[in-house]
Amino acid sequence: MDRLQEIRFVLNGKEASYTGSAADRLLDVLREQFRCTGVKCGCREGECGACAVLIDGLLRNSCCVAMGAVEGTSIVTIEGYRETARFAVLDRAFAQLSAVQCGFCTPGMILAAEALLSAHPHPTEEEIREGLSGNLCRCTGYNAIVNAVKSAAEEGEGLW
């Protein structure tokens, strides 16, 4: 029950620690201390999904996570995920189907797609839309993104 001294966690596969306030936002710490600028700040209130990361494999909005809550967890941001074979499949599908325009929502979309495909390797369109429902895109109108995730699920057969 000690006061938190140092917050230890794993970031993109590497041991990390934070000595600032336990009340600080994970979003700010990832961007400012760890330079993970692929984690975007859109709304700062859990409404847009641009800051989504995976914490112990679960999709979370990093703007709504205090540092004290990440002690002992494993966090994956787009910077870590981009090293994976699964990312390569999503990357290709998003490019081929023009699922990226300005790109601001894309890191969150990709990680939401990863969380979805981990749970449903062969998702229906409805499941894809539900899986991405917390991620706002103001450019593409969503259909291209939904199609890209569907295509990635097919092209990446066996990876998820």
């Binding site: 029950m1 001294q5 009340a23 939401a112 917390g134």
Partner: protein
């Protein structure tokens, strides 16, 4: 560098209760509401690693949902009642459901809390614990107003006790601006049950329309003990009683609109019950 601010982490309920009683802390479970209206000067008491608060269990009378159980965990549990799952599956989006908790939804003190609506309709109880003991109270009595609850400053919510029931009919509807990431404009939960041909329960709860979830037990009493035939004959006066009682606060949408939606949902519930 040693951190001197921001919070404490508890690894057992006993530790959490010691800290709650001895320090000025804000209990932090999922953080989805706390981090939006951030309390910069306060210390958080992080509860997500307290095992006693993370379980879903059952006994003869209740399904017991720990206060730090997330909505996603509840959706994956075979124990959680279907009506609750229906409400919880409509909360925000996956990333929020992976974080938001039952205890947080209650302690936040919002009349728009979707899980609280179902708890009020279901006659759920809460087990509140402190270093000096524990007490059990109705969810209905816990919620006092916007941001106000009956939780004492040395207490934590331990679990929600959902009565085990298999009613004839359950009804849930949430009206929001869109399907995902929407705060309820009006929400409604209804539970209907009969025994030996007579109505034994007809609970109707309205969310997001006043300072707390609304439920009118004196109106429900009009139909308790009646046969279906008798209840059908009373339906119009029953609905009229609600129309009179539903005095709604103004919100982002007009009180008139929300009152009309409340009555439409009540009528849809009654029709689904065969009344």
């Amino acid at each position: 560098m040693v951190n001197t601010s921001g919070g404490y982490s508890a690894f057992s309920l006993q530790e959490a209760l010691e800290l709650r009683a001895s320090q000025d802390v804000i209990p932090y479970a999922g953080g989805t509401d706390l981090m939006v209206g951030k309390h910069r000067d306060a210390d958080y008491l992080f509860l997500s690693r307290v095992p006693e608060l993370r379980q879903i269990t059952e006994d003869a009378g209740y399904v017991r949902i720990g206060a730090a159980v997330t909505f996603s965990e509840a959706l994956a549990s075979p124990l959680v009642p279907q009506l609750m799952k229906e409400a919880v599956s409509g909360i925000a989006a996956p990333a929020i459901r992976n974080a938001g908790t039952f205890g947080g939804n209650l302690a936040n003190g919002s009349p728009k809390a979707d899980s609280v609506l179902v708890e009020v309709a279901s006659d759920a109880k809460l087990r509140l614990v402190s270093r000096s003991g524990e007490r059990t109270m109705d969810v209905d009595g816990f919620c006092l107003g916007r941001g106000r609850t009956a939780l004492r400053s040395d207490e934590l919510i331990a679990e929600v006790l959902m009565p085990k029931q298999s009613p004839d009919c359950c009804f849930y509807e949430k009206v929001g601006g869109r399907s995902a990431l929407a705060i309820s404009r009006v929400s409604f939960a209804g539970i209907f049950d009969t025994q030996d041909g007579r109505i034994s329960n007809i609970a109707a709860a309205f969310g997001a329309v006043a300072d707390t979830v609304l439920r009118f037990r004196q109106i429900e009493a009009m139909l308790i003990g009646r046969t279906i035939e008798e209840a059908r004959a009373l339906r119009d006066s029953y609905v009229a009683a609600y129309a009179e009682q539903l005095v709604l606060t103004r919100g982002r949408v007009s009180a008139e609109y929300r009152r009309a939606v409340c009555l439409n949902l009540l009528n849809a519930f009654l029709s689904q019950c065969g009344l």
